[in-house]
């Protein structure tokens, strides 16, 4: 009996460990929500919850693109700059009609994302450096084009864009709808399509995937294009949320927030494991921490980065421990 019982208990512990690694962020999110609902009356109200969702929907969209990139063992530092470019282009093209203001910015940022992917795949330069250069260069272009001043969306289209960034539909803010639809689509693509499986395969083992006949280069270009397009689109929504004002400094440092959200959500930086639902949880966790600090009201706003950073560090330390334990088990 003993010999049977031992592996079983070990099995339970192992399952618990695997669950924590996969769902650790979810557990943390639930605990944080319980804590906040007990401590603050204003927390669990629909107004507050919708506000949290709305405030974090933009970073969420960027983080979805980042999830694809990180799943493929890449990284995209250019998302913040591309976001700014998307908003600025939408504002500049708004006099020429809705189609131009919506499609061209997304097309341009998608193209620039594609350039990232092309250089990474064909020239074999590290994603970190390529997208760092794109981040610096595109920010420079945005500053140069706008002369570092805010551009506003043409009056004829202000209503449309403001609705997109600030309006509500069936009681839920439009940007939240947009975010959730993109999230659902991304989750579907990752789980049920060949494209999604290829993303995981390349992140798991690029050489093997290449030998299996999957066009790794094309996949890389596609994923960075996707990240660029999502960033540009987010820039348009953000400009709408700010009443039609596209700012050249928009999205500054968002790349780091997005990476943090993706990692907290359990997607491994070494690629191949994770998903966008985790990213959603990661975004919400960071958002709720901010919300709690606001509800508390007595904490200086300077505490916010301290708590966020510490929280990020704790989560990744726990993750690293769980991964290490798993590797040791595999070795035995």
């Amino acid at each position: 009996m003993k010999s049977v019982a031992n592996p079983q208990s070990g099995g339970i512990r192992r399952t618990a460990g695997a669950f924590l690694q996969k769902q650790g962020a979810l557990v943390a999110l639930i605990l944080l929500v319980i804590f906040a609902s007990i401590r603050y009356d204003a927390f669990l109200t629909s107004v507050n919850i919708l506000n949290i969702l709305k405030q974090n929907s933009m970073i969420g969209m960027v983080a979805i693109g980042m999830t694809f990139v990180i799943l493929m063992r890449g990284i995209d530092l250019s998302v913040g700059s591309l976001l700014a470019l998307g908003g600025i282009l939408a504002a500049m093209l708004s006099p020429y009609g809705l189609a131009a203001a919506l499609i061209v910015p997304v097309a341009v940022t998608a193209l620039l994302g594609g350039v990232n992917g092309l250089i990474i795949a064909k020239m074999k330069i590290e994603p970190f450096i390529v997208t760092l250069a794109m981040m610096i260069g595109v920010r420079g272009v945005v500053y140069a084009v706008t002369k570092e001043k805010t551009r506003t969306i043409d009056d004829s289209l202000t209503d449309f864009f403001v609705t997109m960034g600030n309006g509500t539909f069936i009681g839920i803010p439009v940007p939240v709808w947009i975010f959730l639809i993109i999230l659902a689509a991304a989750a579907f693509v990752l789980r049920f399509t060949r494209f999604g499986r290829n993303v995981y395969a390349i992140g798991g083992n690029e050489d093997a995937t290449h030998l299996m006949g999957i066009r790794v280069d094309r996949m890389k270009i596609a994923v960075y294009t996707l990240s660029g397009a999502l960033s540009g689109f987010t820039g348009i929504v953000l400009a709408g949320r700010l009443g039609g004002a596209a700012q050249p400094v928009a999205g500054d440092m968002w790349e780091l927030d997005a990476i943090a959200a993706v990692v907290i959500g359990g997607t491994l930086l070494v690629g191949g494991r994770g998903n966008v639902v985790g990213t959603f949880i990661g975004v919400m966790l960071l958002g709720i921490i901010l919300n709690i600090i606001n509800l508390q009201g007595t904490l200086d706003s300077w505490w916010q980065p301290v708590i966020r950073g510490t929280f990020l560090l704790l989560i990744v330390i726990v993750q690293a421990q769980l991964i290490k334990r798993k590797q040791e088990q595999r070795r035995i």
């Binding site: 020239m123 140069a144 930086l269 966020r308 990020l312």
Partner: protein, 324 residues
């Protein structure tokens, strides 16, 4: 170094000469670009060819270079340190607490304090096994926050002539920060080139497992580079604080991690780890500073220099690609 690789020796003499020329071009590309830019400026820019201008350009890049030297060691082990700007903010705030003591105490105390944060990075990365980018990102977010909490977001001004000399002083006509920059560069170069520590750093960056099997204490080496990176960042933070005679937790060292990384990769150290090229980094930082100065002195908006820098980063990496 003598070439003992048989496949190289089979190459005909003329090919060999071409190879050597390519190697030379690669090695001296960076200094050549800098010289070309100086000549261009001498022709185009007013008042460029004065010693004052030269020292000013070096003064502007001195703190970035200091940070980039530490970053070179980190990148050579295959890591990255995003927290340098936050460490500069912490150093700026902490050194204002020590102003009642002699300058030596201020310098040593602040560097020791910041070394603790480097130690934290190192422990989390090499002993717990968290990826460098995410571990240092956490400190990047939290560190500046801590500095802002301490100062409540305000500028802390002070008067302390002896300490301020670290940032404002001149020795003959050379600004003190430039002297500090070159002393640090020379010291680190000697350590990297002639001491086992440098070999170990390179070995860890080339192949961590092989280094481990060869009996190198990989964890200790990685720990050491993050501590050094934090110490150099704290020195840079104190220099900027002394120059302003004020600790600005919000603005000091903002985005310096990106500038430093750019200088390192332009200088020829591989992002995947390997040989740390200290002088490459120094020249890389000087090149970036020279570009900024060229644009500033000709009244071209700063934004255009960002675009040029982006191209230079990609071009530099592309040219060095075959070095692997």
């Amino acid at each position: 170094m003598t070439d003992t690789n048989p496949s190289h020796q089979a190459i005909s003499p003329s090919d060999r000469r071409a190879l050597a020329a390519g190697e030379l071009a690669k090695r001296f590309a960076l200094p050549l670009v800098i010289v070309a830019l100086v000549i261009l400026n001498a022709a185009v820019t007013n008042n460029f060819l004065s010693t004052n201008t030269m020292w000013n350009i070096l003064l502007h890049v001195s703190t970035t270079t200091l940070v980039a030297i530490g970053m070179t060691l980190v990148i050579a082990t295959g890591g990255i340190d995003l927290s340098v700007g936050a460490v500069m903010a912490l150093s700026a705030v902490f050194c204002t607490f020590l102003l009642d003591y002699p300058v030596v105490v201020i310098l040593a105390g602040t560097m020791l304090f910041c070394a603790l944060f480097g130690l934290l990075n190192g422990v989390v990365i090499s002993y717990i096994g968290v990826q460098p980018i995410i571990a240092t990102l956490a400190l990047m977010i939290a560190g500046r926050g801590i500095a802002q909490v301490i100062t409540d977001g305000y500028l802390v001004t002070f008067t302390h002539p002896a300490f301020e000399a670290l940032g404002k002083g001149k020795w003959w006509s050379i600004p003190v920060p430039v002297i500090v920059m070159f002393i640090v560069a020379i010291l680190v170069y000697i350590v990297v080139r002639y001491m086992t520590f440098g070999r170990y750093v390179e070995a860890v960056g080339d192949n961590e497992q092989a280094a481990n099997l060869a009996g190198i204490n990989v964890r200790k080496i990685k720990l050491a580079v993050y501590v050094l990176s934090a110490v150099f960042a704290s020195l840079a933070g104190m220099i900027e604080t002394a120059r302003l005679a004020a600790a600005d937790a919000t603005r000091i060292g903002e985005l310096i991690e990106m500038d430093a990384i750019a200088a390192v990769v332009v200088g020829g150290t591989l992002m995947s780890g390997g040989k740390p090229r200290i002088w490459g980094t120094v020249l890389g930082a000087i090149l970036m500073g020279l570009i900024t100065a060229t644009f500033n002195m000709n009244n071209i908006p700063y934004s255009y220099s960002l675009v040029i820098k982006a191209f230079i980063i990609v071009a530099a990496i592309y040219l060095q690609r075959e070095n692997r």
